[in-house]
């Protein structure tokens, strides 16, 4: 069976131009040699620090950034080989949603107009059926029918994200790239949107590439995780394996740094050191070596290839040695919290 989405050596480098002649002064190696597979109906999370290339990768998948090298296949279709006409057709199957849906929604269009446009453009509805089809999308995304005639500025952040999702769903895509879709939302609303995305996936059967810097959200939504560092995947594993037995020292640093909402948890000193690196000045050998506690001469000289280690793919010379077990043991919620929640849920059920 072919994967739904497959990349091979996907690369995006940006030229850096300086001076009045705009001469090329260097390159930003935003994404380099990224290969992965994503099955239908599944979620692959992309995590990493700011500037590591997550958004660039997401956009390159859809050719919103023209890749500098490598290939992208959606099922049997080579996306990188399509001409403009073919690409327009293919975009129907691949959609993207952003952190700030406001920036991507036309402020002068009502929700109904926003949803009708792609439906008519791709011939998925006629002028006779477009109204009903837009209503269906509105229901699906948990908006109220009266929202249809409103403009983006009249909505809260969570509602705008629902509109963004509804628009992405209009063309019945097989794949949605979600670029930090909940990062700007409050936790209570974030939970609503994460649940909505999961429900939609179950009902409609789409695959997600879910870009996030929040490991806790990732653990909830993804089945597989790819960790990026300076443009490259340094570890890829199932969510379970990544959280219980991270192999790359950088993965462990990320997990260690995330604050845990549990005052009783053992408070350890942050293991993270060094600042977020720049894609402009790539370190020699393993790009992570200036911040790595395990780095030795080999690390400074030779870049480790991404290779299979157990169930994971890891780019580290010491991937075998570096395994540490049960890094994030599963903890039950506090019994008091569960009891209170039960009271609230019971009352809520009683209201309906």
């Amino acid at each position: 069976m072919t994967a739904l989405l497959r990349t091979e050596g996907l690369t995006k480098h940006f030229p850096v131009r300086r001076g009045t002649l705009r001469r090329q002064a260097g390159t930003v190696q935003a994404v380099t040699d990224v290969s992965f597979q994503l099955e239908a109906n599944e979620t692959l999370a992309i995590v990493g620090e700011s500037g590591c290339g997550k958004s660039t990768l997401g956009r390159a998948l859809l050719r919103l950034h023209e890749p500098s090298g490598g290939k992208v296949w959606l099922k049997d279709m080579d996306i990188t080989a399509l001409n403009r006409q073919g690409l327009r057709e293919a975009r129907k199957h691949m959609q993207i949603i952003f952190q700030d849906p406001f920036g991507s929604l036309n402020p002068r269009m009502t929700v109904r107009e926003t949803l009708s446009e792609p439906l008519l453009l791709h011939g998925l509805a006629t002028s006779a059926t477009v109204r009903a089809e837009a209503d269906r999308l509105i229901d699906l995304c948990g908006l109220a029918r009266w929202h249809a005639e409103r403009y983006p500025h009249e909505f809260s952040g969570g509602q705008r994200q629902r509109v963004g999702i509804a628009r992405a769903l209009a063309t019945r895509p097989m794949l949605i790239v979600c670029d930090e879709p909940v990062s700007a939302l409050d936790v209570s609303v974030q939970a609503q949107i994460v649940n909505l995305l999961q429900d939609l996936q179950r009902e409609l059967g789409m695959a997600y590439v879910f870009i996030s810097h929040d490991l806790a959200v990732v653990r909830h939504i993804a089945r597989k995780v790819a960790v990026m560092y300076l443009g490259r995947i340094v570890e890829e594993a199932t969510t379970e394996a990544l959280f219980t037995a991270p192999r790359h020292p950088y993965t462990r640093m990320l997990i260690d740094s995330a604050p845990r909402p549990d005052p009783a948890a053992l408070r350890h000193k942050a293991s993270a050191k060094g600042g977020t690196p720049s894609a402009l000045a790539m370190p020699s050998g393993c790009a992570f070596h200036p911040r790595c506690v395990l780095a030795d001469d080999r690390c400074r000289a030779i870049r480790p290839e991404l290779r299979q280690v157990g169930q994971s793919r890891v780019a580290c010379h010491f991937a075998e040695a570096a395994i540490s077990d049960n890094v994030v043991p599963i903890k039950a919620d506090s019994p008091a919290l569960m009891r209170r929640l039960a009271v609230l849920e019971q009352a809520r059920a009683g209201q309906k």
């Binding site: 649940n195 909402p261 549990d262 009271v343």
Partner: protein, 333 residues
């Protein structure tokens, strides 16, 4: 019993905008103890920043109006100080750090000269002594090569480094109180962990009391000893961090805690709170959380609950608290 370093009592803040009056902070109060970190939590727009700006007297008036309350610091009400006395206080015995470092750093001066100026103004330190102290401060906040960085302009530093410089500036004159408004929200988790470590260390050494404003319960759990939970401009619950996490009582606090995704929990649905925070122009007579609360009844909708103690040091503003045993269907528990 330790005395509070800073006491906020019944703070009321309104914004007057074209004829409308928005009551964004209503009767907010808390005590900040010496050497303690107090977390002020709540979702965006609930009035955290306005509260902290009111304490520092940094709200522009108009449109803002402090309609009531007092801020007791060193036996005086900050709200009654003259502008000059207040300037003396800020950057001196009261330090402040913001989410966006450029709100307190001036882009046209070097990092060092801004710290030196503050040392001159508040501690009378000048010349070589001031420069040396500035370098020492930059070293304390673990800025790499402080003797070089002291002459850098803010734009030459990364976001995390600028945050460190701002902390150095806020700590320059050994403040008794430090107010930190979302100091790590814009940073990567790796840098956030370093900055929070730094704040903890500094506090252990100097005993500074910290008011930490955040929307992240994980940050609260890791750094605070006490918590104040705000909803729509009011305090709904407050107490020791251990008590609030082990025994959350207000339906909003319970919802907030259940909604936080956790790295150490099995996959499954997150528990969302339906609806969203009411906008400040919405007139609410009773409990502000009532439209989202499954326990709401007529009393909740008509009468405003006030804070009351349900366990030593643990206060809740909810008619139904303690909610154990309460059930809309009248079932047993």
């Amino acid at each position: 019993m330790v005395d509070p370093v800073l006491s906020l009592r019944d703070l009321d803040v309104r914004f007057n905008s074209d004829g409308h009056q928005l009551r964004v902070v209503n009767g907010v109060g808390f005590d900040l103890m010496a050497g303690q970190t107090l977390g002020l939590v709540g979702e965006s727009g609930c009035g955290k920043s306005v509260t902290s700006l009111a304490i520092m007297r940094l709200l522009a008036s108009p449109p803002a109006e402090i309609a009531g309350g007092e801020v007791i610091f060193e036996n005086r009400d900050l709200l009654k100080l003259s502008k000059r006395e207040m300037r003396e206080m800020r950057g001196g015995r009261m330090g402040m750090i913001f989410q966006e470092p450029m709100t307190s750093l001036n882009p046209v001066y070097t990092c060092g000269s801004q710290i030196i100026e503050s040392l001159r103004r508040h501690s009378g330190l000048t010349g070589k002594a001031a420069r040396e102290r500035a370098i020492e401060l930059l070293d304390t906040v673990r800025l790499p090569s402080p003797e070089k960085r002291v002459d850098d302009y803010p734009h030459q530093l990364s976001g995390g480094q600028r945050q460190r410089v701002m902390i150095a500036l806020a700590l320059a004159n050994d403040p008794t109180v430090l107010i930190a408004d979302e100091p790590t929200t814009a940073l990567d988790v790796t840098i956030q962990a370093q900055i929070l470590d730094l704040l903890r260390d500094l506090q252990e050494r100097t005993g500074t009391a910290v008011l930490l404003i955040t929307h992240d319960l994980g940050v609260v759990a890791e750094t605070c000893q006490a918590v104040v939970v705000m909803y729509a401009g009011t305090v709904v619950e407050r107490g020791e961090v251990g008590a609030i996490f082990a025994d959350p009582q207000h339906p909003y606090t319970v919802g907030l805690m259940a909604a936080v995704p956790r790295m150490d929990a099995l996959q499954g649905r997150l528990t969302a709170i339906p609806g969203s925070v009411p906008p400040p122009w919405e007139r609410v007579v009773g409990c502000r959380f009532a439209p989202r609360c499954p326990l709401a009844d007529d009393r909740c909708r008509n009468e405003r609950p006030t804070l009351r103690e349900i366990a030593p040091g643990h206060e809740i503003a909810c008619w139904k608290a303690p909610i154990e045993g309460v059930s809309a269907t009248g079932g047993q528990s």
